[in-house]
């Protein structure tokens, strides 16, 4: 009986504590949209991710800089397409929000939320919303601006860097370390890599492995590849987290990372430091904070009844050459990267 009572007490205590916590959180978050205050929902692909947090920070900075009364509500997409689709449907059907900034998990799937129940402007960051993942111009009615670059074009530019490096190496052995080949985005990137590299007979893609945007997964994959190909010349990755794992794999195998063409994408602080030090030959830099800022600025224009830019080229907003090498970074010594992850 005592044991039963203890369990009941513990359960009640847990429930009460949770309820109090939720009430406290809700009170902090439930700003009113009355009195000329605009309410904007920010749909992060995942709120626990450094890239998305930098985007949100940029959104906050732009909101503060606008001098207008704007309250922001951050929603966590948990890296799940369906979760984010539901969130977009929810925030655009209640009438509580005046605008949306979204970092899509799946821009193709998210198009299902359009046309929106309430016609409010949507700004998308990194990926477009619609059937064509390489088309930045708004593809569905309701999206007012897209801040990004076509993923295939960015991948193509990365691969062109490899071609330049391999020009005097024959055969030039390349390992493709791609994120997740079950997503259209990474399949498009992989195809762009192969298309560019396949046009050069001296370049041999010896292996294609998945890094899953994770250091440990990439460390394992490249460690395995190095068992069969110790003489690789290039590791081409679409993510800095993956390149960081590859770097450890090279070091574990007794290979100096600077002796191969190691490159990633994303522009993390670690990647910028690695390129500056010469450990990586190049990195494709993203500017998530500037992208969030640009998206919010365009959204504010739309909410004010103005005409926002349909496409903001995210490569041109960071003040740094996005396809960075040690030489290009030397021109901007103060730049350290806009996020880490």
């Amino acid at each position: 009986m005592n044991r039963f009572r203890t369990r009941i007490t513990a359960t009640l205590a847990l429930t009460t504590t949770t309820a109090l916590l939720l009430t406290a959180c809700g009170a902090a978050d439930s700003a009113s949209s009355s009195g000329g205050t605009r309410k904007v929902a920010v749909l992060a692909a995942s709120s626990q991710n450094g890239y998305n947090q930098a985007v949100y920070k940029g959104v906050q900075q732009a909101a503060a800089a606008s001098g207008k009364k704007i309250t922001l509500k951050l929603l966590d997409g948990q890296f799940d397409s369906n979760t984010q689709l539901s969130q977009l449907q929810n925030v655009t059907s209640t009438g509580d929000y005046d605008g949306v900034v979204v970092v899509p998990n799946d821009g193709v799937g998210l198009a299902a939320a359009f046309p929106l129940s309430k016609k409010i402007p949507v700004a998308t960051v990194l990926n477009p919303i619609g059937p064509d993942i390489n088309k930045m111009e708004p593809q569905v009615d309701g999206v007012v601006t897209t801040v990004g670059v076509p993923p295939a074009a960015a991948a193509q530019k990365q691969a062109e860097g490899v071609v330049t490096y391999c020009a005097r190496i024959n055969p030039c052995k390349v390992v493709l370390l791609v994120g997740n080949l079950s997503t259209p985005l990474d399949v498009a990137r992989r195809n762009a890599y192969k298309k560019v590299l396949g046009a050069h007979s001296n370049i041999e893609v010896v292996s294609t492995v998945e890094g899953q945007y994770d250091r440990d997964t990439s460390l394992k994959a490249i460690s395995n590849v190095l068992q069969a190909h110790k003489d690789i010349n290039v590791i081409l990755s679409n993510a800095d987290q993956e390149a960081a794992g590859a770097q450890i794999a090279l070091q574990n195998a007794g290979i100096k990372p600077s002796s191969v063409y190691l490159t990633g994408a994303g522009g993390t602080k670690d990647a910028v430091a690695a390129v500056r030090s010469g450990a990586w030959k190049a990195a494709y830099i993203n500017f998530p904070l500037s992208m969030g800022k640009a998206a919010m600025e365009q959204l504010i224009k739309a909410m004010d009844g103005g005409t926002p830019k349909a496409v903001v080229d995210s490569d041109g907003i960071g003040g740094v050459e996005p396809y960075a090498t040690k030489e290009t970074l030397a021109r901007t010594p103060d730049f350290t990267g806009e996020w880490n992850g």
């Binding site: 080949l181 492995v209 590849v225 068992q227 069969a228 450890i248 993390t268 992850g341």
Partner: protein, 333 residues
Amino acid sequence: MTATETAPEAGAGVAVHGGTPIGPRVIAFARDYAALILLAAIFVTLSIISSSFLSFTNVMNILNQSTPLAIIAVAGTFVIVSGAFDLSTAAMYAVVSVVAASIATSTGSTWTALLAAPVLGLVMGALNGLAVTRLNVHSFLATLASSLVYKAVAVLVTGGSLITVTTSGFSDLGRGQVAGIFYSVLILLVVFALASLLLNGTVFGRHVFAVGGNSDAAHLSGVRVDRVKVTVFALSGLAVGIAGAIGVSRLASGQPQAGSGLELQAIAAIILGGTSIYGGIGAVWRSLVGVYLIALIGNGFDILNVNPQMKDLVTGVIILAAVALAAADRRRL
């Protein structure tokens, strides 16, 4: 094989040896050791078709890269044999990773940081055990809930960002070697030996089997069921802490996404090895077989440059085949 595992069934056979027909004995052996046989078959096949596979460095590479998962699976065997599940291992791994990285960057002390991981793991594991026993919640739900809490803690510690560790010597545990053998592999061997001894050679081990076989009967027999349950969850947490220390040291960084998916990989490896998902039957070595079976498939795909889109398909089919083979034996009884 443990005392609780079923003996090969006698049946008709062509040849007879020692009173039992050879045919059924071979079949029973195959069913009993399905994962081990598959492991050997894949090992031999890869040795034949890839000139890069069978080398000391590659074997060490396979052993080393799976060490965190293997340590978690070794302790997870206790949890599953006791009839429970621990779905919070990945979240605990994330917490110990980010806390160890935070301590290293803030104090500059490598050993304080790395020792904090198992201590913290032990505490979180014990809390899981207390949640299961005190609140009388099924372990599946209790650890699912605690995983959300622990994951949130990991995010709060880091703010969602990566913590890069540059403290001198921090990477030694994860990357260091002696005579070509990674420290992490040596740690795994010690953990494996201790866990095997604990499960098969002590009263506590017998109590774990008893609780998993029939907790009511165990209780009536004088086994302190709750204490056993709390202990197995604490062991699981401790193992996650050790694995997390190795992982964070290896990557020299901690992040809240660390260990993502480890909980299901560990459970899959344990079940694949032949430990019963229903509890009461199992062995530590079987979990290692499951871990390395999955690791061999991954290694084979990467060194043979097979389309990575096929990896999950092949892994899934092999897991299904091994589990179905083992289950066929139980269905006959």
